[in-house]
Symmetry: C2
Subunit: 137 residues, 2 copies
DNA sequence: ATGCAACTTCAAGTCAACTTGAGGTCAAGC
DNA sequence: GCTTGACCTCAAGTTGACTTGAAGTTGCAT
């Protein structure tokens, strides 16, 4: 019931080179080897899904690595978790705002969007950055 | 009523080097020069806010550039706008899911999160990628 | 008119996140 | 037993998004 790197690659959509890179960086680990070949457990797939998601959310690999405990579970640092959660939620809200800006742009017939009040309103929401956001470099 | 690069930098939070870089890449443009110095219009600030937001949402500068028309308005390609809007909304939903995963991790007392049903549920939502998402390299 | 802070250009450097390539190993099917 | 394909390592290359540095210019206050 263990997976070859090729299987993991196919199932996760990530190329083997990336998987090796992630292992090198300590984000994942193989459960052992058969000869030279890495063997992975099923659970790697969930972990990779979380990593990919974290990347899409704008976290660096280093940040993501810090969210896992050495044993592979998610970090138990509750405060940190809640902070990240807030940050993500705020980002999500802003994204919805931009999404609204785009929908408006597609629909609105006003000569210039910059003068349209509803456009203005969306952009205003989108402009607000949270404090934690600012910290992110 | 025009701004110096320093003013824009202070008001947008972006360093002058980044502003010059963005200009070089065609994401923004100065309205003219006083001697050597670039002059910017007020409206640059809104535009920069949108650019920054786009970056946070994971778009490349090139993608962002393609969302603006040469005249500086948002692209009128309605189909493209709606596609991006969907993409953003989907990403936003997934982010909320990760946020939930994190909150759960902070709150749940189960010995292993991987066995907790509500954790599973959140991860399941988070795992789903949209088609458009997959295209994003 | 003189100093100097804030601008300018342009080339080169940096960093994260991968990818690519050369050269080697191994197990399975013909 | 030998080829083939999927794996391996390790070093070097790539890309995007900036930043830094050197060397020059300019506008405003003293």
């Amino acid at each position: 019931m263990t997976l070859d790197i090729g299987d993991v690659s196919r199932r996760s959509g990530l190329p083997p080179s990336t998987l090796r890179y992630y292992e090198e960086k300590g984000l994942i680990s193989s459960t052992g080897r058969r000869g030279l070949r890495r063997l992975f457990d099923q659970s790697i797939l969930q972990r990779l899904a979380l990593i990919t998601l974290g990347r899409e959310a704008g976290f660096s690999l280093e940040e993501i690595a810090s969210m896992f405990t050495p044993t592979g579970k998610l970090s138990i640092d509750r405060k940190k978790c809640l902070e990240k959660a807030d940050e993500l939620e705020h980002l999500a809200k802003r994204l919805v705002s931009v999404s609204n800006v785009l929908r408006h742009t597609a629909a609105c017939r006003a000569p210039s969007h910059l003068e349209c009040p509803s456009f203005q309103r969306y952009v205003k929401v989108a402009e607000k950055k949270s404090h934690s956001m600012a910290k992110r470099k």
